[in-house]
Symmetry: C2
Subunit: 507 residues, 2 copies
Amino acid sequence: MKNISLSPNGVEYFLPDEEESRKERLLLEDITKKQREQGRKIVAVQGMGFVGCVMAAVVADAEDNDGNPIYYVHGQQRASVRSFWKVPIINSGVPPVNSSDKEVPEIFHRTVKEKETFRATWSNYAFEVADIVVVDIQLDATKPAFGEAERGYCDLSAFRDGMRTLGKHIRPDCLILVETTVPPGTCEKVVKPIIEEELANRGIDVVKNPPLIAHSYERVMPGANYVKSIRNFWRVFSGVNKKSKELARQFLEDVLDTEQYPLTELENTNASEMAKVMENSYRATNIALTLEWAKFAEQIGVDIFKVRDAIRKRKGTHDNLLRPSLGVGGYCLTKDPVLANWSMEAIFDLEGSLDMAINAVNINDTMPLHTVDLIKQVFPDLRDLEIAVLGVSYLEDLGDTRHSPSETLVKVLNESWAIVHAHDPYVEYWAEMENVPVHDNIEEAVKDADVIIYAVGHKQYKDYRPENIVQMSGKKPLIMDCSNFLNDAKVAEYKRLGCVVKGVGKG
Amino acid sequence: MKNISLSPNGVEYFLPDEEESRKERLLLEDITKKQREQGRKIVAVQGMGFVGCVMAAVVADAEDNDGNPIYYVHGQQRASVRSFWKVPIINSGVPPVNSSDKEVPEIFHRTVKEKETFRATWSNYAFEVADIVVVDIQLDATKPAFGEAERGYCDLSAFRDGMRTLGKHIRPDCLILVETTVPPGTCEKVVKPIIEEELANRGIDVVKNPPLIAHSYERVMPGANYVKSIRNFWRVFSGVNKKSKELARQFLEDVLDTEQYPLTELENTNASEMAKVMENSYRATNIALTLEWAKFAEQIGVDIFKVRDAIRKRKGTHDNLLRPSLGVGGYCLTKDPVLANWSMEAIFDLEGSLDMAINAVNINDTMPLHTVDLIKQVFPDLRDLEIAVLGVSYLEDLGDTRHSPSETLVKVLNESWAIVHAHDPYVEYWAEMENVPVHDNIEEAVKDADVIIYAVGHKQYKDYRPENIVQMSGKKPLIMDCSNFLNDAKVAEYKRLGCVVKGVGKG
């Protein structure tokens, strides 16, 4: 099994052997030659993850004023057991990610099958021929203890390996455009020294040929505007030197809608890297604030959501105020403050810390415990209680379960010996919680439920009629609303049917 | 001197004696009778402070569809040494507050002198005849230790006295509309019991005549839109019972521009009270976040203001992000989180605290120390250093010095034996720092300065030319820019002239 990569839809792909890799290299050589003959530049996108694969398609889709493609894109994905399957999937013209955005399958089919400007490969030869490498390697923060984000750190070793690979293969005049969200200082203090070292090892004079490294972060929003959030949205960038900035600007202007969304150039890559983690820290902090006030509101008969609406009337000054919920999930708000805080000492050897943002992460990470506390106000002992959890993804109308607050919720419920029935219309298999089956049949999920938790705001859940839910449960379950998913009429209806209704931030 | 009230422009007013008070009462009786004959309702505004006096004028200015005034307003101000002077000043048609808003003198003249619908009085008889009392008593939070907002509390005794006065005088069907920013729970748990007790003492059946109490907070912005920020702006309100809400809505619709800015009614006064302190806590938290990141930015060569601009491109989700500065001053952001946090235990007997907001207050209150630290990077010993502080108010283009961060700055500089020269074009006399003269002549302020601190963003300061400032100083002073008041060109010019330039958040 070690040399097989299993795709999510169950197809097995053998990892390539040396012979195949040799042939692949020859093929890339041939493709590159032909593409260059057509006047196209070669781009390699390193990492076919959530951002990288769509970014690669967007680059491959870019056209000049005459409608001719500007770039040919090698989507480079290591031949790992976990991810190699993406290569053949992409090359069949199919995206390796699920999305509610219909532009996603369209742009993959168009670039791979029609324009033939996008092809995935596992070969590092892609880097050798590239004019530009776009780095979309995944980089995570590790929080060793629950609720202690101040101890969080970032393991850069895989990222460093990726940079070393680039240093061994790229041409000296290749632009490395880092799109990964990185700790501030990464381009200057991590990428640049590695590339310089590897270029020097290859006998290249890095004083005469200083490496070209830029940073421009994506602001991908999964969901219905997935492609647009990459192509038709504000971008910030910078580079480690003048030439890097110029090349990055040219590239971004070629592939993104910078007429509608003009680029913002910052002075150095530290600034660009900081902007990304700061903007997510801003939102994380914003949410944590609402969580504390939600707990207060609950106890004094106040509906925090209505208070929020009242405050948000002040457009431009108060309308960013976010909403309390079960907790905060996903890949950005949970880790970006940690990346920044960690970099202060680990990358810059500075004293100090980003306490506001780090405290926010702690409040957000531990927030699901509050929902459990609210349930315990009705059922002090959760043992053998049948609990339906509606929604396990981290965002409404999406199947993405990364760092989902439902994960913390279900773990705590399980530890209290409750019997959990998870439900999610978008999640077939809960990768982070392998032992928890996820129903897609609401009847099965809520049957015999003593407690029904509206954990995620999937549209379906908002459409459910209380009388049907109560009937399916066969009981008068406690209804737990984690983020104002039930309007006043539905709450009244549940109460009329004999249910107790509780809500985060609903006093 | 005890019976004299001194106005800011130096006029002495004797406090009224019993005979004058008796006559005043007869006069009010007469006025009220005549006004009622004209079909007008009587409003008493309690407290002629910063908000109360302008609110009173706005109420007195309200007209029905035929252009007839709807209300006659008694602006009630206690006959105290500190504030009695406001009564004769207002009655001369002049506002008792300074403002850059030219609407302010206009509306006072119009309502007092032309329409004759507004008159100030010290007599409590104003409450006896009122259909509506608008409460604008000042209420402050006390922070007993610097940087320990968690120990902050609210001394409600003067506010309670004010409510007791109302309870002794108002008619049972008078609406009390509290406009003061109060700790959540104040209307229900403080105002209502006092009014009930006093009404009962007067033999009134409070079960049959439950007191009518509402809350609607102002969102006054001092400056050029002072009047508009009261009359033409979003309002939130609620009441302790249905009748209170109805009366409050009617009144607010009569006096404010609720067509352009529809009212938001919340379920109870706890919610309305919470909305006010939460919206200011939101901003306080927002600023504290930027302050922590500013310190990080300074150390890694990043200009946080440019990072902020990049982030704020995302309208509606990120554009509320505020800016770092010398610190946070004024009357709202420095105290409202404390009112809320204090009320949890003191008013509701709850556990828990609003740590995000309270930590924010601590960060904001202590922020001026950071500017001192930056100066010490150049001058480790501040003793006998000549330091010009440009700006002592808490906001640009305003003379308001309440809780100004310059106050903390100057105190710390004084404690370090520096020689401080304060300057502010809007502040003649610095009430909070009596012993610090405030120059209005820039030459005097910057002469011989070793350090020039751009503390506040007054327009004048942004207009100064570096070469003039340097010439006036006669030295090559350290230029300290507290909130991006100097653009890149000016910074370059100062450097060209031999100055070291440092800035909060400017790496």
